[in-house]
């Protein structure tokens, strides 16, 4: 068997590939969030599964997508302010797929994905620029020193990991005191250059995300756009295992990108994220 030609054939139908991967990520997400408000979800799931089991080949309606979308909407209506941001993005992507199953126009589907992706990244840039805590580097400084950013790398350096652990213990101890006493603690740096790294991370993030957002608006299918885009995804995954969100971004990459190698890379990112989510190494 020629493995590469099998992969190539699969990747050539990028819309179908992206939709299949979206269904995998969506199912995993639904599985992990199903416990919330489960008493109401049981009838929706039960009726949906009955419809899918008996009628999925006899009707033009995308029953399984509609069913899963209803579950997402249900969570949205009950826990609007508690949901992760990628719940919203997932919801819009599912809506795009449902809409596509009726109009069947690939250019409309790709325009939907392009604009959604660009707006999501632009919003992220705006939120960062308008946050004084982020722009000053204070946020990254705090997150690195508590071992939340680059936490997986800290595991390879026991001394630095120990410093982060002690910082967290200090935060907890301080929070146990009366805040009206106005006590404070001095954070210990996990690395002597952590302040510099924090600032580089601020500007690196802002510049890269801005380039990606405008490139997706301007040239959504260009290889260079997707080189920057995949760099951004990998960069985020290096700093923290935001696997749920990154899987959705990579799926958008598969929808939009023309380059087969980059499509393959995005497929690997999605499948890797799925494996990390299922094993609970990553966030769902």
């Amino acid at each position: 068997m020629n493995y590469w030609s099998a992969i190539e054939n699969k990747l050539k139908d990028h819309i179908e590939t992206a939709i299949q991967l979206l269904l995998i990520i969506l199912s995993v997400y639904i599985f992990f969030t199903a416990e919330d408000h489960r008493i109401w979800k049981v009838p929706i799931l039960f009726l949906g599964l009955i419809s899918w089991f008996f009628f999925h080949k006899k009707t033009k309606h995308p029953i399984i997508w509609i069913l899963l979308f209803l579950l997402l909407i249900f969570d949205l209506s009950h826990s609007y302010f508690w949901l992760a941001n990628h719940h919203f993005m997932l919801m819009f992507l599912v809506l795009i797929v449902i809409s596509y199953s009726y109009h069947r126009q690939s250019e409309v589907l790709l325009k939907n994905v392009q604009l959604l992706l660009a707006f999501v990244i632009l919003a992220s840039v705006i939120q960062k620029i308008t946050s004084s805590q982020f722009m000053s580097g204070n946020f990254n400084y705090y997150m690195i020193n508590r071992g939340t950013l680059f936490g997986n790398f800290l595991n390879f350096f026991p001394e630095n990991h120990e410093i982060a652990k002690r910082n967290v213990e200090s935060f907890i101890a301080l929070n146990a005191t009366d805040p009206n006493l106005h006590q404070s603690i001095i954070i210990k740096n996990v690395n002597p250059n952590v302040r510099l790294i924090s600032i580089i991370l601020v500007w690196g993030t802002i510049i890269l995300e801005s380039i990606v957002a405008f490139a997706i608006l301007w040239k959504p299918k260009s290889t260079w756009t997707h080189v920057f885009f995949t760099t951004m995804i990998v960069g985020i995954l290096i700093t923290r295992l935001e696997t749920g969100f990154m899987a959705l971004l990579a799926i958008c990459g598969i929808f939009l990108c023309r380059n087969l190698k980059l499509r393959l890379f995005n497929v690997l990112v999605v499948l890797g994220c799925a494996a990390l989510i299922i094993t609970k190494y990553g966030y769902h």
Binding site: S99, A123, P179
Partner: protein, 135 residues
């Protein structure tokens, strides 16, 4: 619906809906003190997570209040997420109802970091004094 309108609706409808939710979130962040982390505005990792906001009630611990009290857990959780006057008022009323106290004082504090000198401290966001007689 004519063809042009339908085409535009199909192309821009869903992305526009996404933009509307983002705008709503930004408005809530600026008017209701909603945490940037939530509400569908894609503002995660831009400020310290609201989980680390601290509710301080002199003479009471939050842990003791939320144990076996789902309503209290939800109300105080919402106060951390959106530390505004309205949620502070709701929390104070619920604490007064749930305890035998005549009055309650609730403060909400946020952590603050200064990377120049490495200092981590807390600042007062808002507070309320409420007497049972005012209920």
């Amino acid at each position: 619906m004519n063809k042009v309108t339908k085409g535009a609706f199909l192309k821009y409808g869903i992305p526009c809906l996404a933009v509307i939710l983002i705008i709503i979130q930004i408005i809530l962040v600026n008017t209701h003190q909603l945490s940037k982390w939530k509400g569908g505005g894609y503002g995660m990792y831009t400020e310290i997570h609201y989980y680390y906001n601290q509710i301080y009630i002199p003479g009471l611990t939050v842990d003791s209040l939320i144990t076996n009290n789902q309503d209290m857990r939800a109300t105080l959780g919402r106060l951390k997420l959106m530390p505004n006057k309205n949620n502070l008022n709701k929390a104070a009323r619920l604490v007064l109802k749930s305890t035998e106290r005549d009055s309650v004082h609730i403060q909400i504090w946020k952590p603050i970091v200064n990377s120049q000198n490495g200092e981590y401290s807390r600042y007062l966001v808002s507070e309320i004094y409420l007497k049972k007689s005012e209920l």
